[in-house]
Symmetry: C3
Subunit: 205 residues, 3 copies
Amino acid sequence: MRMRLSQGDSVYYDLFTAAAQNVRNGVGVLSEALVPDADRAALVPVLKDIEHTGDEHTHDIVRRVNSGLKPPFHRDDIYRLAGALDDVLDDVEAALDLMVLYRIRELPNGIAAMIDVLDRAADLTAEAMPRLRAANELTKYWIEINRLENEADQTYRRLLARIFSGEYDALTVHKLKDVIETLESAVDGFERVANVVEQIALKQS
Amino acid sequence: MRMRLSQGDSVYYDLFTAAAQNVRNGVGVLSEALVPDADRAALVPVLKDIEHTGDEHTHDIVRRVNSGLKPPFHRDDIYRLAGALDDVLDDVEAALDLMVLYRIRELPNGIAAMIDVLDRAADLTAEAMPRLRAANELTKYWIEINRLENEADQTYRRLLARIFSGEYDALTVHKLKDVIETLESAVDGFERVANVVEQIALKQS
Amino acid sequence: MRMRLSQGDSVYYDLFTAAAQNVRNGVGVLSEALVPDADRAALVPVLKDIEHTGDEHTHDIVRRVNSGLKPPFHRDDIYRLAGALDDVLDDVEAALDLMVLYRIRELPNGIAAMIDVLDRAADLTAEAMPRLRAANELTKYWIEINRLENEADQTYRRLLARIFSGEYDALTVHKLKDVIETLESAVDGFERVANVVEQIALKQS
């Protein structure tokens, strides 16, 4: 019985690790797409596939919670963690989709700093999931994610000030603002993931 | 005592059914308001009345939770469900209010697809509430709402691309974008309603 | 043991009172910053200090929840209340930061009504926290906050209609809209604080 339960627990950690790794892959594709000469349209189906994989992870997690085996942490926290990871991937997919739909060619220089934050947040999150089991080692992760989110806030506001400076025409401003806001929302999503992880860890401690 | 409790339970299902039916009415008025020759200003007080009825449903639900009778599902889920229904109605009312305030006459063609999604989501939600009691029959409902929300996402982005295409002047772009975002937010609201229903159903199962 | 516990409870009320008073101070600085001839750049570091103090309050609260002493209300509600207060301060700081970054000099007249709402919401919230202990006296507080939020919604939409009326150039519209949306988000934040307080009070009753 004990082993059965522990096997059940393992599955959750494995599923969240897979889900976070999948988000990591999605951010990787977005990074590729944002370099100046990328063939963005070709990357849209790649990212759709990753989003589809993400949906399957979410369904696996929800089905397992519903299977009767007691999960290693609170049901609500499991739904919220799965949902928060899903939200990040939605934003990542939306950012690329908008760039293609709006036919945006060049992005303002400052965007590289935001993509860098997304890359680091995705790495940290993917590394944190296998350690959900050992809650005490997660403090550094969520402090770093919160620091990154504050950094992204500054970058975000400076990017907006830049695109409002008169360099771009009115419609381009609208388009760039939408893409930049979507990237900012993805960073916020990583912070929400970290907040759920923090609460799971505090409840276990 | 048993009967008393079961009576208490009935009241919740009835209240949520009434609340969702009221949201349904609100979306109906909005649909009317969005046809080209509608007298929108005349529909504003109609929608305010519906919003007022919605507030009364919410207060009834909260008061009942607070009355000491054990509710049929978790207090937090009841608040969240009432709150999510209320948010949809807020967006519905805001969309009409903005159109009147901004003196928007014509909407881009694609808007019909979004209103259609709202109509179908409102119908599905109103039909789902009486079945909260029999949680196992709700799977189709929330799968369909999630599908509709994905459909609306695509429509939404294509509508934005359309209004950014150069057809409209800069101020009209701002106004249309606000209205379209508010409609999209209403669709998201229906998805949040479905997510709470899903969690209630999974906990009961 | 009883006294120990009661001491532990006191600390929570004191911490939330201090956190809400700090938000109150932040709104005060923002009010100063929004008068026409304010030296806004000089107020940025003042508000950063207040935000830093807010972060310390949040960490104190989280650390205490994690210390093993049973808190006077549910852990999740404590995190949500601390988080909601923190969100208000983030918006307050963002509003000032954006005005400085965008080099906005004049604000539309209607903005005074929004600042007035923020001021009153901040006062009400700061006064409510010490009364968390006596939940039954909080009804007036959250009814009034909800009323203020509805008032702010109307003001907000009328402000948008005003800045979209043709008086401002396209880039100024973008900048003003961002600031006004951030103020509106701060008002919404006060409503979320009131919602958590309401749920805490209802659970205690």
